[in-house]
């Protein structure tokens, strides 16, 4: 595994894109075909199911190191990653086990067939035979997230530059449901399995926040304007009478939305549609907190289906009767899309409405009132634009409404994970509720590294607890919290839930006496 360990280490030690590319290319030159496939599988989220529970791994690690549970937890909260914590705690290895990445994966894939005793024998032998870096990787291979310093986009770029291929082709080729066992790396990245794979989605086209509004929109007639919805961006695929729904996170979510599947089934022909999955009741779009109740359920009861009906607003068409339309213009695709909606009785699927506006002044007014219909703002797509892969500046813009903001005080802090495990980066904020403070939001980002260090220092000096991962701090630091929406919630003590809360800025000029109170926060819900 040395070559793979070297790659992981190299990806880990730099944040320069070129050096990462170089490291991946180096790995491509040296590694075997199967190792490359595993690398691709692991870095694109296709890892095997966890065969050994984290509870067992923890128990065995404690048994070997003879440290008490509380000390293990202190170590864990200081490191922020279980596999790394265990690897650091274990004593130095006595021997070395030399296997390639794919050989290791074969062994790991055998684990589900072992009983607990055999699993333990195997894991303990490996722990005693690998140096720290490889032991850490082994623990990561056993399960858990495997996102080590390379984004999907970086991965695609590394492959496309190595083979001199178009990035969009590579993206397309490596999406979907291939397995290491049934694939060959070269063939896969060259897209040789694409046709045989009915479910394969296209990479989503994304928009940047708008810049230079007046200049960009100087000729409104060139733009297709739609509402921007806050749901789940999804791609509906119908090929050979089979239907698939993909989320933007490249997850198949077909089973979660039977309403959409049932309606699409009635449509003739093959197609790929891009749209937004939303909770819709009596023709009105509900806010995201409603949709959330529908997500990630194992069983969809009749009750929940009635309570939160789901539908889709369709934005675009990417494929029509097996013809890729992505290089056609937006206006062409829109016409094609509209033709699908002619003479159809539709309940769950709707065509995204075009917003008509004569002037920028009028458009701004429409945008400002978007929140009233639970929209996030506007989407502007150039009528000549093709359907790009990922984010590309110029053709598509999002023009979101300004976020809502409140002032809240920091009451709990927790260390982050990964890169942020050495600092307190995860914060919980409160607003006033009469004489008390009540938790209103958790937020993880929005501060600079320097500010995070400053907050961490404050936490170290003002923490009530000395043990455990969460520190209660003196309510003193005030932050302005921005969020996209707000809804009623029975899950939160405050009775409200914020959508996408984040720290807008540190209000060093304000004291805890000046934070918002819960009543005024509730008034933001319409």
């Amino acid at each position: 595994m040395r070559a793979f360990a070297k790659l992981v280490h190299a990806l880990d030690s730099t944040n320069k894109t070129n050096q990462k590319l170089e490291a991946v290319h180096h790995f491509f030159r040296e590694a075997e075909d199967k190792d490359k496939l595993w690398f691709l599988a692991l870095f694109s989220g296709r890892r095997p199911k966890r065969a050994v529970s984290t509870t067992l791994l923890r128990e065995w690690a404690k048994e070997i190191t003879k440290i008490p549970e509380w000390l293990f937890l202190e170590s864990y909260s200081s490191v922020g990653d279980l596999g790394e914590t265990i690897s650091l705690l274990l004593p130095d290895p006595k021997g070395y086990m030399e296997y390639s990445l794919s050989e290791w994966m074969d062994k790991i894939n055998q684990l589900p067939f072992y009983d607990e005793y055999e699993k333990k024998q195997f894991i303990l032998k490996v722990w005693g035979s690998l140096p720290h870096q490889e032991r850490f990787i082994f623990n990561k291979l056993l399960g858990g997230s495997f996102r080590l310093g390379l984004s999907t986009k970086g991965l695609v770029n590394a492959i496309s530059s190595y083979y001199n291929l178009d990035a969009s082709i590579v993206s397309h080729s490596i999406m979907g449901e291939w397995t290491v066992q049934n694939s060959n790396f070269e063939e896969l990245v060259h897209g040789e399995y694409v046709d045989s794979n009915l479910s394969k989605p296209y990479p989503f086209c994304l928009a940047y926040p708008i810049e230079n509004i007046e200049e960009t929109l100087s000729d409104l007639s060139k733009w297709q304007i739609e509402y921007k919805w806050d749901g789940i961006r999804g791609q509906v695929i119908k090929r050979n009478d089979e239907i698939f729904i993909w989320s933007r996170g490249e997850e198949l979510i077909t089973d979660q939305f039977p309403e959409i599947v049932n309606e699409v089934r009635k449509w003739e022909g093959d197609f790929v549609l891009d749209g937004e999955i939303l909770a819709i009741a009596n023709g009105e779009i509900l806010n995201f907190t409603a949709l959330q109740k529908r997500l990630n359920r194992k069983v969809l009861s009749k009750k929940i289906l009635e309570e939160v009906p789901v539908g889709m607003y369709v934005y675009d068409i990417l494929e029509h009767n097996n013809k890729d339309l992505r290089n056609e213009s937006m206006s062409y695709r829109r016409k094609m899309l509209e033709s699908y909606f002619v003479n159809k009785q539709l309940i769950s699927i709707k065509l995204s409405t075009i917003v008509k506006s004569e002037s920028l002044v009028e458009l701004s007014y429409i945008r400002e009132r978007a929140r009233e219909i639970n929209s996030e703002g506007l989407m502007l797509k150039h009528k000549d634009s093709v359907y790009h892969v990922g984010r590309k500046k110029g053709d598509w813009w999002k023009w979101k409404i300004a976020p809502l903001t409140i002032d809240a005080v920091l009451i709990y802090a927790q260390k982050g994970s990964g890169r942020r495990s050495s600092q307190y980066t995860d914060y919980t904020f409160a607003v006033r509720d009469n004489e008390n403070l009540v938790t209103i939001a958790k937020a993880y980002s929005g501060l600079t590294d320097k500010e995070i260090q400053e907050v961490s220092r404050f936490v170290n000096k003002n923490a009530v607890e000395k043990f455990g991962p969460v520190r209660t701090v003196k309510p003193e630091l005030v932050f302005e919290i921005a969020f996209e929406g707000i809804g009623w919630s029975t899950r939160h003590k405050a009775g409200v839930a914020l959508r996408f809360p984040r720290i807008l800025r540190w209000r060093k000029d304000k004291t805890v006496a000046e934070i918002d109170d819960l009543e005024s926060v509730k008034k933001l819900i319409h």
Binding site: S13, I67, L71, S75, L88, L89, D92, R419, S422, F467
Partner: protein, 340 residues
């Protein structure tokens, strides 16, 4: 009568009427070692190991009143028998042993058990009460051998050279910088920042031979260091000065670099877990060797470490001090003052 007390000014020896590493101005200060959080400004009289004398003069002022003492030499201060014993942390670093009416207390300052080849190696001292640091008092901190560490540094330099890069090391100017110099000796031309040079002189004045180097003046052009080795103090991280170095690959040498997250937080090209503090196992070893019946834990992972000591049957208590501010060798860069 208790032999020591923890006072607002620092650790106080009651019958001896003196302080050890105080953080506020006092009459008599016994100094364990020359790092800024232990050797502070404003004492009427300083007592420290001979090797620490030039460091104090260089860092605080040439005019301070300071007396040097050898390791294992006994002196009396107001009826208390005082002696200094090697702590292995940096040159001149000492565990200070106090004996009064048969009662023995050792204040260890900062220490490490690994022999770095520059400092006099740690020598365990038996006592009734032991005052210990706990900077790396978590079992995740386990150092590699010094040979292995040095090898890794030298290999990194050679690796950079093959890519035509300049190796830049970030390390504390007193102790760490000199260890790095030793580790990369003979792998390429060596340049050090002025603040390191100043402390190198203190090393050389007590007869310690360091590798040949040139002083780097960041106010001038620094292109000539290309593909060589540069050592700078932590205060220079993210500074404009360091950006002038051509084709730079930079590494941070600090015990905190054990954890991936800490390495990535600093976004260095490399992080080496090299420390002048004892790791988890060595902290426990030192404490066991002292055979102390009571251990005071002064800085670092105080809560965790003293809880653990109590659990394994060694009575322990945490003490609030102003040592190891931020308990972070990298953040503490600012205590070095204006070094650019």
């Amino acid at each position: 009568m208790r032999l020591i007390q923890f006072r607002p000014e620092g650790i106080y020896c009651v019958p001896g009427k003196f302080f050890i590493d105080p953080w506020l101005p006092v009459d008599i200060a016994l100094i364990t070692h020359g790092h800024a959080d232990h050797a502070r400004w404003g004492m009427k009289k300083y007592l420290c190991h001979h090797f620490t004398v030039p460091i104090l003069r260089s860092r605080i002022s040439p005019d301070i009143q300071v007396q040097g003492i050898s390791y294992d030499e006994n002196i009396k201060v107001n009826d208390v028998q005082v002696s200094f014993h090697p702590a292995g942390h940096i040159i001149g670093s000492a565990q200070i042993r106090l004996e009064y009416k048969g009662r023995i207390v050792v204040i260890s300052g900062d220490y490490k058990l690994q022999n770095d080849g520059l400092s006099t190696p740690f020598d365990p001292v038996k006592c009734h009460e032991y005052v210990s640091e706990s900077t790396f008092g978590l079992p995740i901190y386990q150092w590699k051998s010094v040979e292995r560490q040095n090898e890794e540094l030298a290999n990194w330099v050679v690796h950079n050279q093959s890519y035509h890069k300049t190796s830049v090391f970030v390390g504390y100017s007193l102790g760490k910088a000199q260890r790095i110099m030793k580790a990369v000796e003979d792998t390429g031309p060596l340049y050090v920042h002025y603040s390191i040079h100043k402390l190198n002189q203190a090393y050389e004045s007590v007869g310690i031979k360091l590798p040949k180097y040139e002083v780097l003046d960041f106010r001038e052009d620094v292109k000539h260091v290309n593909q060589g080795i540069v050592i700078v103090p932590p205060a220079l991280v993210d500074s404009n000065a360091i950006r002038k170095i051509p084709n730079m690959a930079y590494a941070i040498c600090s015990g905190w670099m054990t954890v991936r997250g800490a390495r990535r937080w600093r976004s260095a090209d490399a992080g080496f877990a090299i420390s002048d503090h004892a790791d988890w196992n060595d902290l426990l070893t030192a404490i066991k060797l002292s055979e102390a019946e009571k251990v005071y834990v002064t800085h670092g992972q105080t809560a965790v470490f003293s809880k653990y000591l109590n659990e394994i049957g060694i009575a322990s208590e945490e003490v609030k001090t102003e040592f190891g501010e931020e308990d972070d060798e990298i953040v503490s860069a600012k205590v070095e003052g204006n070094v650019v």
